[in-house]
Symmetry: C2
């Protein structure tokens, strides 16, 4: 029953195969008659498999007024089915020496296990059962709602930094549901009940809306056969579920969100730009944004770090990242922690200066080359983990990309030019469309 | 066909009868079998009647993704019915020497005529026909949508001050539909079609959802008889329409929205506080907020004007108002126009100082007495206009108040104490929950 909300702000970029063409060629991709997509990623180094089911619905698909239902249902998916009482599945995974997890994000909900490869069939039978036969009673729903409410109180309502993040995202998205927190608004979570959960389950938990990813020392035909015997038995829907989201109006005004609280000991600065995702961007634009974010704030050789921390000593930390995996327009974050006696206003102006450098001055070709090499290398290293490889493909497919998109990513990254980075900075790092967040101690209220 | 959007920011307070008990006693209130509420306000001074139908649905009841539909339908209500082709109603009103208008606000949509009293029956027959028999074809819907789009472009998209107001309200309401403009988001207006309009019409334009107000030299029993013969013929719904709105989460962070544009010649400052309405407030609290807003910024003897304009010369104009007529929690605005060479930051700090005066210092009893006297007197003077009297009652009833609430308003205002005003300022003028808007010329971008 380890159930966790995915960090909405963790940077995930589509993974890439080491020898990209080869690895992609080894990946198998099927569609069962009931619409379930099956992806098999060979990895023969250990006798372990990673088994994931990704549903193409996340918090941004929560019905209006029912925010938090995607995440709440993720919790409830551990409450047993018509065939297996609560705890049986999790206990079995533990007994067999496996690991499990689940996570809800804006665009997807996923269930994950790692286990010895001989147990794959068992996992698939249990997970397929859970896709179709969830059993919910008020006796399990109400206490679990209290668990989620407590999770929200602990993680957000008691943490000024999380409160600020929530207020910044709400300000960035005036209309699109990315402005609503994954976990939901407290007053709406309080109203979620068994019927809401079942309505949502019946709407989204269907084979047409799911992607099965199996990575490990397995043969594609074996996985396909097992998938047909388990998931394949679940009937298709007459009509597959659709995402139905409101679109954001154009933004023309900068918004500064200031939160001061006596619990704040270290002030902090963040700036969020509304930018296209890998799914919504023009060709090459998301890759340019990925590169730009890395050059701006990826590590100790980035422009923000070098300028603010090393040279000017305005900040003790600074960075940037691009949340490219998203179905709709997404976010590029810039953040910094001020040095003692530096005000957030001073820091803000210094950050403006670094960003202006990317807009007004030529891109350093050496820095660009290093950034691209590093991003592609990071992606390759990360594939060393079977689970992160599976996660990359799952996330990409769940946000509307294809296996080919993922496989061709290193190539597209290599193609990013200095002109592309400058163009991305000019077009998208426009403060008039951005939100800035100030986290302040109580006595420094803005 | 004079159709107009009501100004969302005009201060409207519930009206009050001159000799309040008497006037209220003279008002008649009926309910027809089909649910229509009928209010008759006697006014024998001229042989003129004011006839209004108020529907209890406004832009805040627009379905998600269909913003602007309430306002769009208001336009389309002038397009003819099964019985009367487009233009016949308006032409008749004009021929008979009458006036007509219509307006859409957050919480209601209303249709209005003023005409010689002998024509009341005719008006009622036409307006009742329009409640039940609207006829819409694509031929009239599409061009009218272009009219609305042009209205939006002219009034908002081409006006930085209106853009800022829109962004400020969107920032104030993270979740509640008051954050969506009455006219709708451009990209959603573009999608509104005949079927959307008819769905909305069928849902909300029903006798149970309407209030008929007739003011003038009429007898209540005559109006009731005519109402039965016209509106009374429209069948009731099985289930009356309901408002179904999302609630706002708690706010903990101040938001500063800055808009700079080359079209801006005069910078401006606004601050909006989220406060209870006459409908949502605890007893006496809305009246205290009304008084507080007037003392803060109602005219040349208000604290903001005296301090900022007269004494400190930081501003060339300043004011405040409370939008008390609202179904849900609403807004108290403070605004100022800086003097030349005064920055918005300086002005902002000066405004903070004036507000702090109300929170920290005793209320001037003389100022309080003058404010209450003036507010009640304004309400009495305004009743001199038959149309504004009718509008006050219509607005109050459409936002969930009663005739008794309106009639008792002067008495409740008289009861407001200095302690009430201080308590309201302390509780509600909390900057941490507010939004500030800066309107700036292009070269002074924040």
């Amino acid at each position: 029953m380890s159930s966790s909300t995915a960090s909405p702000t963790a940077p995930h970029k589509p993974g890439a195969a080491g020898d990209s063409a080869d690895a992609s060629a080894n990946i198998s991709n099927f569609k069962l008659d009931n619409g379930l997509e099956v992806v098999v990623i060979p990895d023969a180094r250990t006798p372990v498999v990673t088994h994931m089911v990704w549903y193409k619905n996340g918090s941004a698909d929560d019905p209006i007024g029912k925010s938090g239902i995607a995440h709440f249902l993720e919790h409830l998916m551990f409450k047993g089915t018509k065939n297996h009482p609560q705890g049986e599945f999790s206990d079995l995974v533990a007994e067999l020496g496996g690991q499990e997890n689940a996570f809800t994000s804006y665009d997807y909900t996923a269930y994950f296990q790692r286990i010895g490869k001989e147990h794959l069939e068992t996992l698939m039978a249990f997970e397929a059962d859970r896709m179709a036969n969830l059993l919910l009673t008020d006796e399990v729903v109400s206490p679990e709602r209290d668990v989620v409410l407590e999770e929200r109180r602990m993680r957000t309502d008691n943490d000024p930094s999380a409160q600020l993040d929530e207020a910044v995202q709400a300000a960035l998205f005036a209309h699109h549901p990315y402005g609503t927190p994954i976990i939901g608004w407290l007053h709406e979570i309080e109203t979620l009940n068994r019927e809401d959960a079942l309505d949502y389950y019946r709407r989204f938990y269907t084979p047409e809306n799911a992607t099965l990813i199996v990575a490990g020392d397995v043969e594609a035909e074996d996985v396909l056969r097992l998938a047909k015997e388990t998931y394949g038995k679940i009937p298709a829907r007459a009509e597959p579920p659709r995402r139905n989201r409101t679109k954001e109006p154009p933004h023309r005004a900068h918004r500064l969100v200031s939160l001061s609280d006596e619990k704040v000991e270290q002030p902090a600065h963040e700036r969020v730009f509304l930018v296209p995702s890998y799914k919504t961007a023009a060709p090459g634009e998301a890759e340019a944004l990925e590169t730009l974010a890395h050059m701006l704030g990826g590590g100790a050789t980035s422009a923000l770090y070098e300028t603010l921390v090393v040279e000017e000593k305005f900040a003790v930390g600074a960075g940037a990242y691009y949340l490219g995996s998203a179905v709709d327009d997404t976010r590029l974050w810039v953040y910094a922690t001020p040095a003692p006696d530096v005000s957030l206003e001073e820091l803000d102006r210094a950050i403006d200066g670094v960003i202006r450098g990317f807009i007004e001055q030529p891109i350093d070709e050496d820095h660009l080359r290093r950034a691209k090499t590093r991003l592609v290398a990071d992606a390759i290293y990360a594939q060393d983990s079977q689970a992160s490889l599976a996660r990359w493909y799952g996330e990409a497919l769940a946000t509307g990309l294809t296996i080919e998109d993922v496989a061709a990513w290193p190539e597209r990254m290599e193609a990013v030019t200095a002109a592309d980075v400058t163009a991305a900075a000019r077009k998208w790092l426009d403060k008039r469309r951005a939100v800035t967040g100030f986290l302040l101690p109580a006595d420094e209220e803005a």
